[in-house]
Symmetry: C3
Subunit: 138 residues, 3 copies
């Protein structure tokens, strides 16, 4: 069995922000030499998500409005978690969008449908954040 | 390490529809010869989900109403994504229900609780769609 | 390839309840002898979740209120699933929080961010329940 492990760090200059991880994951799959296997991509922070959906800015704006409606940031005082912190909404939004994706590797490449694109979704940024990529297979 | 990869195509004659994948995944696990491992089952489309829950039509009707309340299809114009398209709600609903499931294989069989049943949930059908099954193990 | 399979049973004395699985999963990873691999942790019941988030009681109270707003338990009669049963809301809440987590194992240990903590979330308890831990790797 082969494996590859890589933490990807990034600056996140806004509180909420969607960042493509797609090319980096593709490159790590190639680097791993794994032909048949699985790749796990997960946020290492509990106020962020990794998800797969469309690379389309209108949809990303729709996610932003929709998540704010399902789990509003303000008023901060509506959440028990918000004493020293103000990010309870981020912990909720992350559950809707998910912590991780698991993607098949077939013939040495990500095995995805034509519109599947891997993203990181930050809900409490303004600092450095990281994502874990773990590849196993043969 | 053994692996098996299979795309399952299906006709989806309605916009929204729940389809059982359970028996097909069971058969592929048997075909793979894997005794101990994991199976990934994921939608290859970004307006659909694979999920595990009850095989009970009342619950499926409840999901339908609930998802329509959380992320209404209409009016189409409420979403930025809907210009040439009308399926923004499908991209939202799919995030609630999830893209994929990962299931253990133990002793050559799906290792599931008594009521766990694997389904595909289409949110923008009326065309051919597909699901990926990837099995790895030994 | 090595693997380890374990069902963890627990008494759940309330209808809804969050239970830490973290230490048990850590111990099973050590017991498995796997240095590089993946661990799947999933609910074996369809009215419960396994999720990763903050080990903070205020946040857990926020989840409780938030999920009750998204998918209210009562009135029971609002759901088609509730005839002989009264747990339709539990099947909905579980979809928001997710069925499973997949976590990397690196150097023989869970590879997690500093605040990631593995929990079981019961939405229809008052009886014995179980979780599956499946570890594969090398």
């Amino acid at each position: 069995m082969k494996s590859l492990t890589r933490e990807i760090w990034m600056e996140v200059p806004r509180r909420r922000m969607i960042v493509s991880l797609h090319r980096q994951v593709e490159e790590l799959v190639a680097e791993s030499g794994v032909r048949e296997g699985l790749v796990l991509v997960n946020a290492m922070h509990i106020t962020a998500s990794v998800f797969i959906n469309d690379n389309e800015s209108g949809l990303h704006a729709d996610y932003e409005r929709w998540l704010e409606k399902l789990a509003p940031e303000k008023p901060h005082g509506q959440y028990d978690h918000n004493g020293a912190e103000d990010n309870a909404d981020a912990h909720l939004k992350r559950q809707v969008m998910g912590r991780e994706v698991v993607v098949a590797i077939t013939g040495g490449r990500l095995h995805l449908g034509p519109w599947e694109h891997i993203f990181y979704y930050e809900f409490d940024g303004l600092r450095r954040k990281r994502v874990l990529v773990k590849i196993i297979g043969e």
